[in-house]
């Protein structure tokens, strides 16, 4: 028995009929074709599927699409303020070589967004602790930490670093 849901994703409203058991990550990837959000583990350890739901980071492999009904979701595709301009967190991951294979990166960036929202000036230890829900197998994390520190600096010195089209805030 399908259910109708209305979800705003990256600023755009979608009305869909979904099976109640459909995971949010599969809704984003397979119904809306937003494939930037990845599935890494199915058991909410790895964080590759992290998105913002109503402004808070969630692991979209452990949220049902029906639970997002009426909500607003921001994915990696909606983080940049415009097509021409990267979000400072994205730019910092590039600048500091905070990614290699890139598979964990969208989730890592979304988790970093949540981290910096609650703590705009984190120490190295706070960043490492704050990202404990996200696993990266390639980088050994050091350049991810540097990227988040760099992004924090950028975001503090610019007047605002809004989430782009998502408008989750």
């Amino acid at each position: 028995m399908k259910r109708e849901i209305t979800v705003t994703v990256n600023g755009q409203q979608h009305r869909s009929e979904v099976e109640p058991r459909l995971l949010l990550v599969h809704y984003l990837r397979e119904v809306l074709d937003l494939t930037g959000t990845h599935v890494g583990c199915d058991t909410s350890q790895c964080g590759a599927c992290t998105v913002l739901l109503n402004g808070e980071s969630v692991k979209s492999c452990t949220v049902l699409a029906v639970q997002a009904d009426g909500g607003a979701v921001t994915t990696i595709e909606g983080l940049a303020p415009s097509e021409e301009k990267l979000h400072p967190i994205q730019a910092s991951f590039w600048e500091k070589h905070g990614l290699q294979c890139g598979f964990c990166t969208p989730g890592m960036i979304m988790a970093s967004y949540q981290l910096l929202k609650t703590n705009p000036d984190p120490t190295e230890a706070e960043i490492r602790k704050g990202l404990e829900g996200n696993i990266c197998r390639c980088t050994g994390y050091q350049n991810i930490v540097l990227a988040v520190q760099h992004a924090a600096e950028e975001m503090r010195t610019t007047t605002s670093a809004p989430v782009g089209a998502g408008g989750a805030e």
């Binding site: 990837r29 959000t37 790895c46 994205q90 969208p106 980088t139 350049n143």
Partner: protein
């Protein structure tokens, strides 16, 4: 301008914009019209007979298009290939069909597949397949599996041992006796490299599409070696090679596990050929734990003879390699072909003796995982050096220096068989010791030991080497060259098609740097293409830290060939002798009269468009190079780790980590640093956290990331890196390799530091608090 002028510059990666914005295409992002989804039913037992399989209910489930078992594939789909079949494997032992037939041999062994309209339906139907299993006792512990009376995986062979080699040791035994007679000592040890999961964050996955009209099979796969997959799909499915096209899209990490060809790639291809509709299979994480190859799993018994000063006279190694249940492509040769040859490490050890057993057990097959054989060999020899130092009451740094191969000994043929290209080991050790403040930390350790401090401090050194750049002629059953096809288009754009196939290493950036630097043109003018068997020349792929040394050399050589042709065209354009033409900063000019010049782009345009080229010159600018190394390369370095172990809890924490690596010339220091970071993290993971565990019945106990301890950010240290640079004459770039160095170097450094903190000779990995607490409190 030659390669000598190539300055290693930390160019930001060109791959990243698509990766940080969610616009990269991994295999699960591919969606084709009328695509079906495959789900795999796997064995819930480590070892069992299959009495019967009833697929009736699954077939009748709405949305199901097909269900296949081994019966359906018989005579149509071939087996998983083995590169170098040794011992009983050459007689058919351990050869793996695409689906289990008659028997399952590990938890996760694929038994049947369901093809359905969507992935949820495919899973629902999978659970409706009824298999009548007769569980059997399992052979799990490798040393027990070798014994007579152990449960047998392959009854026809009467043993689980594939190959056993115990050559006569009289000569080396005489060295042992002589060393003792001269006042030296001997020691024995047993080392275990536990089983690890490679665990790329993207699991395996495949999309297979057969066009019945063209009779062409297109396969998108998360693979490290597209041409190997193409060639084997063709041979195992009975298709001519030109009817198979493999495309490797973005790959979310490999670490060796994706260089193999797996049953699911064959079965999905079979299914699309039967059904005429595309078939997608994406491995879930638990399947990845249960059915993708594991790494390591080796037990070594070692005997050492050394002088009383700590100079090693002889080493005897008995290696036991746990192959798991079947032979994948390199399963049987990881230890003997990649590990044993580098068993001397960076040390001048005059006498080595090897014996070994290769043994099947009821576990996932083992194969190449980052380092593949070399981490095990390095762990062994670095631990040996520490044991010798302890026995000789010397500092482990001094014993390393006493035993190092000296710079004037290169090229050096080791007693283990490998010929080392270049090396200078002591400066890297000195640099690392200086960076970490070795003497100060030793003094601090002495203070803490004297005062009975609750935080036990330990220091561990690893002066590793590795062998990479595979491989020279005659070292493998096939030529291990790498290819590059290069075309300079009329716009001046340089198109490079490489046979190597990256999965995070950044070769789109590094390879472009090689060409752009050499031609003096902007990086943006060079396009690097890879991972498509219809457009790239036959290649050997990315593994074994070979891509820059071998693939980069192919690119460089292709660039030289086209440059020579462009010089000829320029010489006609400038009416000068070709010998007087030089290319610098994107301009061909005449030596002695620099005002006479034509740009790189003008020559490109002329070569491609002009109808007045000199009659001796063929139009166009295109070449294909297959670059085959004449020898392997041997990167090296020293890692030093300082750990604190809490006496009350047994918890170990890395407090400092210093790494000095020498990978020859550095093309892109930013990328090299990233490779070292990630490598260290994986090596530290083995030492501190990771381990695949099976129960005695063959049940997988670490079947998800809830149970397998992947290192998190807060569990890993800050790495302090530096380097030395020792060039190699083996390739024109002077590069060695760095992809696996961190993993190889780090594990023994951590292991030595923990043993040193506890002031014991040796503790087996991983260093979980409970284990260390028991050692501290002698429980």
């Amino acid at each position: 301008m030659g390669i000598a002028a190539l300055v290693g510059s930390p160019v930001k990666r060109r791959e990243d914009p698509r990766l940080i914005t969610g616009q990269a295409t991994y295999v699960d992002d591919i969606k084709l019209a009328s695509m079906l989804h495959m789900s795999v039913l796997r064995s819930p037992y480590g070892h069992a007979h299959i009495n019967s399989i009833d697929t009736t209910a699954a077939r009748q489930h709405p949305g199901v298009v097909a269900v296949y078992t081994a019966e359906d594939l018989k005579g149509i789909v071939g087996s998983i290939p083995v590169a170098v079949p040794v011992g009983h494997i050459a007689e058919g032992m351990g050869v793996r069909g695409p689906l289990a037939e008659g028997k399952v041999r590990f938890y996760g062994d694929p038994v049947a597949v369901v093809i359905a309209s969507d992935r949820y339906v495919a899973r629902d139907a999978r659970d409706l397949i009824e298999v009548d299993y007769e569980p059997l006792p399992a052979a799990v512990d490798v040393e027990k599996a070798m014994q007579p009376g152990a449960p047998l995986l392959y009854e026809d062979f009467g043993t689980n041992v594939v190959l056993s080699s115990h050559p006569d040791s009289a000569d080396i035994d005489a060295v042992f006796a002589r060393t003792v007679a001269d006042g030296g000592f001997t020691l024995k040890a047993r080392f275990v490299n536990q089983r690890l999961a490679p665990m790329p964050m993207e699991t395996r996955g495949v999309v297979a599409q057969f066009n019945k009209a063209d009779k062409k099979l297109t396969v998108w796969s998360s693979s490290q070696i597209p041409h190997l997959l193409r060639n084997l799909l063709a041979s195992q499915l009975g298709l001519p090679q030109h009817q198979v096209h493999v495309i490797v899209p973005e790959v979310g990490g490999g670490f060796g596990c994706k260089l193999n060809v797996y049953p699911e790639e064959l079965v999905a291809s079979f299914a699309t050929m039967k059904l005429g509709r595309p078939v997608k299979w994406i491995e879930d994480r638990s399947e990845n734990m249960a059915a993708t190859i594991h790494g390591r799993d080796q037990v070594d018994y070692v005997d050492v003879a050394a002088t009383k000063e700590g100079k090693i006279a002889a080493v005897k190694i008995h290696g036991i390699s746990d192959l798991g249940s079947y032979s994948q492509i390199f399963t049987d040769v990881i230890m003997i072909a990649f590990g044993f040859p580098v068993s001397c490490g960076s040390y001048d050890i005059p006498n080595m003796h090897f014996s070994f057993d290769l043994v099947f057990t009821n576990k996932v097959p083992t194969d190449a995982y980052r380092g593949a054989g070399r981490p095990e060999a390095t762990y062994l020899i670095e631990r040996v050096i520490d044991l010798v130092a302890r026995e000789a009451s010397k500092d482990p740094a001094d014993v390393r220096k006493l035993n190092f191969i000296q710079p004037d000994q290169f090229p050096y043929k080791s007693a283990a068989g490998a010929v080392y290209d270049t090396g200078d080991y002591e400066p890297a050790l000195d640099k690392a010791m200086g960076m970490i403040g070795y003497q100060e930390l030793r003094a601090e350790q002495a203070r803490r030991r004297a005062s009975g401090d609750k935080k036990l401090l330990g220091l561990g050194i690893s002066s590793y080497i590795e062998i990479c750049g595979f491989g020279p002629k005659g070292t493998a059953p096939v030529g291990l060259y790498e290819s590059a096809r290069m075309r300079v288009e009329q716009s001046g754009t340089v198109m490079v098609y490489t046979g190597a196939s990256p999965h995070g290493q950044g070769e789109e950036t590094t390879f472009a740097q090689i060409v752009a630097e050499d031609y003096g043109i902007p990086l943006e003018q060079v396009v690097i293409l890879h991972g498509d068997t219809d457009s790239t020349p036959e290649g050997r792929g990315t593994y074994g830290s070979r891509t820059t040394a071998v693939g980069g050399s192919a690119v460089y050589t292709a660039a030289q060939r086209l440059k020579e042709k462009m010089k000829q065209i320029a010489s006609h354009m400038l009416e000068a002798s070709v010998d007087d033409i030089a290319l610098e900063d994107g301009k061909f000019s005449v030596s002695g009269s620099p005002q006479k010049s034509v740009t790189f782009n003008e020559v490109a345009l002329t070569a491609n468009l002009s109808n007045t080229l000199h009659p001796s010159i063929e139009p166009g600018l295109e070449t294909t190079v297959f670059w085959e190394p004449q020898a392997c390369v041997f990167p090296f370095g020293t890692h030093i780790c300082a750990v604190e172990v809490d006496r009350d809890t047994g918890e170990a924490k890395i407090v400092r980590y210093v790494a000095v690596d020498d990978c020859g010339r550095q093309l892109n220091p930013l990328i090299i640093e990233g490779q070292v970071h990630g490598g260290i993290a994986q090596g530290v993971g083995q030492a501190m956290f990771e381990g695949v565990e099976y129960g005695e019945d063959g049940q997988l106990l670490t079947a998800s990331l809830m149970d397998y301890a992947m290192p998190y950010a807060h569990e890993l240290p800050h790495y302090e890196l530096s380097s030395t640079i020792t060039l190699t004459p083996v390739n024109p770039l002077g590069v060695k390799g760095v992809g696996e160095a961190g993993t190889i170097g780090s594990t023994p450094a951590v292991a030595s530091a923990v043993a040193d903190a506890l002031n014991v000779a040796h503790v087996d990995m991983p260093f979980k608090p409970e284990k260390l607490w028991k050692v501290i409190h002698q429980q």
